[in-house]
Symmetry: C2
């Protein structure tokens, strides 16, 4: 298998659709993570989840039986953009879900000079979108850049009662209204993968990303120089195997099979 | 003046920014309309107003002193799209302002197979956008065209408390989420101008459009083969005089001046 010709020194794993599907563990994933932890191959979790804090994500994983995972090993867009705002002393208009607000502790929100769009779901409304729009236009009027930061660019996702609009359409609305172009935090942005690589102290060629999203996970990782492996779980669809633009380095049934192959190779 | 070399046999007038500005008559417009009515030069009003019915528009104009204007002489996107739905027996999911709903009398709304986006303003919310989104995806699933009709494509407009998002950004959001491309009813769509021309029984070369929107009014009219005259009232900005793509056939101070010039020419 050509994707294993180069040794795998570290892994990046998506959470939703790889470790769990909603409130259910994907069969074999619990054991696969335990094998990785026992083997000493380092891994990080990279997720575009923007409705909760990484602490809540750990809590949820722990409940499902995934142990030994700490918040600092999870890379999510909200803490990434919050760090960007703090480092650059930017004051944010936070159009995000209330559940993720704790992630923005220490970020100034008075007299905002940038807009952050997360998956606010039912908290998206005309008034808040209008406020975000006015912040961007006020920047334009001051001849400052219209800083619009988006925690991903997803079109929609599946909830129990059907498909739901993700944050991407709302970012597109603000782009259309203002002419600004959003800077994306999260997958498939290369910067996002690089932050996780830096934390692993590994180079892109040494690391494999495993995910269920052909574009966000596999294409994104490949764009950052990593190998990208697609699993046939989560949002995977048969048509992904013949995607127009993204060719995964490998397609496996699930995380368990990917880890099995890597273990055999690394013996 | 070259734009008057060809006789002007009819006129199309924008309402907001040409006849009135909010609740105020634009100086000279009342007399200009009376002169037109006395002269026998036919005219129609073309507006992208989508928050009220044409009957309400007439009522508002009458209150300001504009008399002798009937609803059938006003061309607005909502009655145009409502007619399209009725003629094609389409069932609409109406994401529009409640005030404009009477315009959709006789349009079926159960089991919708198309989406109509108007300026719903504060009635835009996550739930309704999600419902519209699901209608479009259900059409895709049935391999039907994703019929998305938008009553214009404005980015924003001015209210007393500041700039406000128009319907365009919300149409853009649904386009981004679904991959559908909206069909625009209203200016600058050529079909919209053609309907008004047909009602005048005149050809495009015989008619002049007068408006304050360099792109929607002037560019739109020119695209449909009419002459387009820009007024320096309403939303006009000095930078419009050197617009990148649209060159008005003439720029005049206001409607009054345009009518004066046309009258002298038509003697």
């Amino acid at each position: 298998m050509s994707w294993l010709k180069r040794p795998v020194k570290g892994l990046l794993l998506d959470i939703s659709g790889v470790l769990r599907d909603g409130d259910h563990v994907i069969p074999g994933s619990l054991e696969a993570v335990q094998r990785l932890q026992a083997s000493g191959i380092p891994f990080r979790l990279v997720t575009n989840e923007t409705q909760v804090t990484v602490e809540k994500t750990v809590e949820k994983l722990t409940k499902l039986g995934f142990t030994g995972i700490c918040p600092s090993s999870i890379f999510a867009p909200a803490p990434a953009v919050a760090a960007h705002l703090r480092e650059n002393s930017l004051r944010g208009y936070l159009l995000v879900h209330p559940n993720v607000l704790p992630q923005f502790e220490g970020v100034e929100t008075t007299e905002p000079n940038c807009v952050v769009v997360g998956d606010a779901a039912e908290h998206f409304n005309y008034e808040r979108l209008n406020q975000a729009f006015r912040v961007l236009l006020s920047l334009r009027d001051k001849e400052e850049p219209m800083r619009l930061f988006s925690l991903g660019k997803g079109r929609y996702y599946k909830e129990e009662d059907g498909l739901c609009l993700d944050l991407g359409p709302f970012t597109a609305a603000l782009e259309y209204a203002t002419g600004a172009q959003a800077q994306i935090f999260g997958k498939p942005n290369a910067t996002f993968f690089q932050a996780a690589l830096k934390d692993l102290s590994l180079s892109p060629e040494e690391v494999v990303m495993i995910g269920d999203d052909i574009v966000g996970d596999v294409g994104g990782a490949q764009g950052a120089g990593l190998r990208g492996v697609l699993v046939r779980t989560g949002k995977f669809r048969a048509s992904d195997e013949n995607h127009d633009t993204v060719k995964p380095d490998a397609i496996v049934d699930n995380l368990s099979q990917a880890v099995e192959l890597i273990m055999n190779q690394n013996l």
